[in-house]
């Protein structure tokens, strides 16, 4: 029997963790002689106070949604995919190839094609560590981390030597043709009479990310395969006894995970930069781990956590723009949130559980 009611598990634990992180952050800001109230105010207005702020918050959130879902799916199969970074990088390569070398007639088709390419490239990059884990028992944590570096090296080589337009000294591809440019939230919401900021990068990919959330939920909790993935993750011997093949489930879970991470590229590469740059993923693959941990590997939790991290990123950018709080400290604030929600989960959970047990005993 669960010790805590579900609402406490899902809402109370993360909330208390967040409050603790916020208190500590405030102390840190005070310690360097800045005003924490003003800092919070600036972060909230900067990230959520205008459609411009929301545009950036949702743009970052879209990245984290994909990588967060990627980690979640693998996590349900008991696999720790730390390779979201590399898979998203390779996904970007897939998007760039699809956008640059196929003459698309319309952006919808381009989006579809680029999504398929991104997912395929991401899945392919996850397939090798998955195979090594399934067949050889090489630990997936180690191999996926290593593949991040190999991915970075591949991208570096391809951009500098093969895909860089002649004459440009920037290690990046040419701009994608006009027809592949995705509509931003400004373009989508304008016909509905909502004027959304024109300069914010959030685009139609956010809708796809939401769709991915629903699909992942459906896959994990409403399909045969999802049931197999979850039971394998809960108990490998149990799953084996039930006739579930570890090799097949490891491969399938990692392929889906890699594909989701790869899909992130349609947001940052196709939607925002409209070209592939060397540093396109910039850590979103790792943030995805924190997002999945905080969201308890449930798509809805991942959605909330992704928006929170989007808020932290955009709010942090505003802090960097308008205050003299150094950017290292902004990283500290982000890290405190990760620390409390991810790593120090039990610190909040255990006292809470005790509290609920006490309450229940009194009732009984």
């Amino acid at each position: 029997m669960d010790v805590m009611p579900k609402w406490a598990e899902v809402i109370l634990v993360p909330l208390i963790s967040l409050v603790l992180a916020a208190v500590l952050s405030a102390i840190v800001i005070l310690a360097i002689g800045e005003d924490p109230v003003e800092a919070v105010n600036l972060m909230v207005t900067g990230a959520l106070g205008s459609t411009y702020g929301w545009g950036y918050t949702l743009y970052y959130a879209t990245n984290f949604l994909f990588t967060g879902l990627a980690v979640s799916v693998a996590f349900h199969a008991g696999l720790f995919n730390i390779g979201g970074e590399g898979q998203a990088m390779l996904g970007g390569l897939g998007v760039a190839l699809a956008c640059l070398f196929i003459p698309w007639p319309h952006w919808t088709l381009a989006l579809l094609g680029a999504s398929v390419a991104a997912a395929l490239f991401g899945a392919a990059w996850a397939a090798i560590p998955a195979f090594l884990q399934a067949k050889r028992g090489s630990h997936i944590v180690i191999t996926t981390i290593m593949f991040n570096f190999i991915g970075a090296a591949v991208l570096n080589y391809v951009l500098v030597n093969l895909m860089r337009p002649p004459g440009s000294m920037d290690p990046a591809t040419a701009r994608f043709p006009e027809v592949t440019h995705l509509p931003t939230l400004h373009d989508i919401l304008l016909p509905l009479g909502i004027s959304f900021s024109r300069s914010a990068p959030a685009n139609v990919t956010f809708v796809i990310a939401l769709l991915a959330c629903v699909l992942v939920w459906f896959l994990l909790w409403r399909t045969w395969l999802g049931y197999e993935i979850r039971s394998y993750g809960k108990s490998e011997p149990g799953a084996k006894y039930a006739g579930i093949s570890p090799v097949v489930i490891t491969m399938i879970a990692m392929l889906i995970s890699g594909a989701l991470a790869g899909l992130m590229a349609i947001n940052n590469v196709m939607g925002e930069a409209e070209r592939l740059v060397l540093n396109a993923v910039e850590g979103a693959g790792f943030i995805g781990i924190a997002v999945a941990l905080m969201g308890r590997s449930h798509p809805f939790g991942v959605l909330l956590a992704a928006i929170l991290f989007g808020f932290l990123y955009q709010g942090g950018a505003e802090l960097a723009l308008w205050t003299s709080i150094p950017r290292e400290l902004i990283v500290v604030i982000q890290a405190l949130v990760i620390l409390f929600t991810g790593a120090l989960d039990n610190m909040v959970r255990m006292p809470l559980e005790r509290l609920f047990l006490m309450l229940r005993r009194r009732e009984a």
Binding site: A152, N156, G167, D170, L278, N279, E282, L321
Partner: protein, 332 residues
């Protein structure tokens, strides 16, 4: 509209109007941060010098993500900052879309020379010429006939440095071997002194006795290990001779600080267009001070100064990696 919305909207409007009142210049540092001991720090030093001399202030941001490039440009431009100084080639693409939207704002792009934008002052440095000179010195100082080069990432800019260096080495000693390594494939490569140190040791074991570091903060580890192992090193961007007196042969100077200082001093009267600062403009050069004077022989100095004169006069042309995407003296 709920109360909360009104509150937030009001606060946002307040923040924006507060921004618009200040017509300060702004500096956008690249991802390495303003204390990278190299490129961005040079800009920071130039800006600080201007601030101290004039008593004026400037806005700044150290970028943390790619999406912030355009964001920072637009936010500063909307807040009325003028001129806006940007660091690094990666700002070229965002500038090409943002600059036309703010025709009254002047932008400065350092390490960018290929944009078509009337309100951008584009500043390139002839790094290959400066690297050629320090390459000559490396070739003359080397006793083993093998010299090293340690770059940050394998990107065109660093190949440009390496190519000039290798040509300089080969100019004084055609038989010399140039060992070139790159530190990494992720942006962390610009600030990884430990790996810089390991690469230095690896190059020493291959016989290198002079090593040129063009790798941002990673170079600190290269210079340190070279000093510990009792070989010579060459610093980059700023004058790094003082880090290990008597152990750093020279530094390839790239006067980003001067470029930033001049831009801030000119303020809104800034002249736009494409500028390349080479040896003639003293935009690049080699450092000679008390710390390395004992290492630089008269013969060495005479040869390098002669080459410098020839390059300025146009009698000697250092091949640029940028021009041909290839290097006559070094394979990548």
């Amino acid at each position: 509209m709920t109360f909360m919305h009104k509150l937030l909207g009001g606060a946002a409007a307040l923040a924006l109007s507060a921004g618009a009142a200040l017509a300060e210049p702004a500096v956008i540092f690249d991802l390495g941060g303003k204390f990278d001991k190299s490129f961005n720090e040079a800009a920071h030093n130039g800006a600080q010098r201007w601030a101290e001399e004039t008593g004026q202030t400037y806005r700044e941001i150290e970028l943390q993500s790619e999406a912030q490039r355009e964001q920072a440009l637009r936010r500063f431009a909307e807040a009325g900052a003028n001129p806006i100084i940007t660091m690094g080639f990666a700002m070229a693409d965002p500038l090409s879309t943002v600059a036309p939207d703010y025709p009254d704002t002047k932008f400065v792009a350092i390490d960018v020379t290929w944009l078509d934008a009337p309100n951008v002052r584009q500043i390139g440095f002839a790094e290959h010429e400066g690297s050629y000179l320090v390459g000559m010195m490396a070739g003359m100082a080397s006793e083993s006939g093998t010299v090293g080069f340690i770059g940050g990432m394998d990107i065109p800019l660093i190949r440009h440095f390496a190519c000039g260096y290798a040509q300089g080495v080969k100019a004084v000693d055609p038989e010399a071997t140039v060992v070139a390594n790159m530190t990494g494939t992720t942006p962390a490569a610009w600030n990884d002194p430990v790996k810089g140190s390991e690469l230095t040791k690896a190059q020493i074991s291959q016989g290198a006795d002079v090593i040129y570091a063009a790798a941002g903060g990673t170079g600190v580890g290269v210079l340190q290990t070279a000093a510990d192992e009792d070989i010579l090193s060459i610093g980059v961007d700023s004058n790094q001779n003082h880090l290990h007196p008597g152990k750093v042969l020279t530094s390839m100077l790239k006067r980003v600080d001067v470029a930033v200082y001049d831009a801030l001093k000119a303020g809104t009267d800034l002249e736009t267009g494409v500028f390349t600062f080479g040896l003639a403009e003293e935009g690049v050069g080699y450092a000679l001070d008390d710390n390395n004077a004992p290492l630089v022989s008269d013969e060495m100095k005479a040869a390098v100064d002669a080459a410098r004169e020839k390059i300025i006069a146009g009698d000697l042309e250092v091949a640029s990696y940028y021009a041909t995407d290839s290097c006559p003296a070094l394979d990548f």
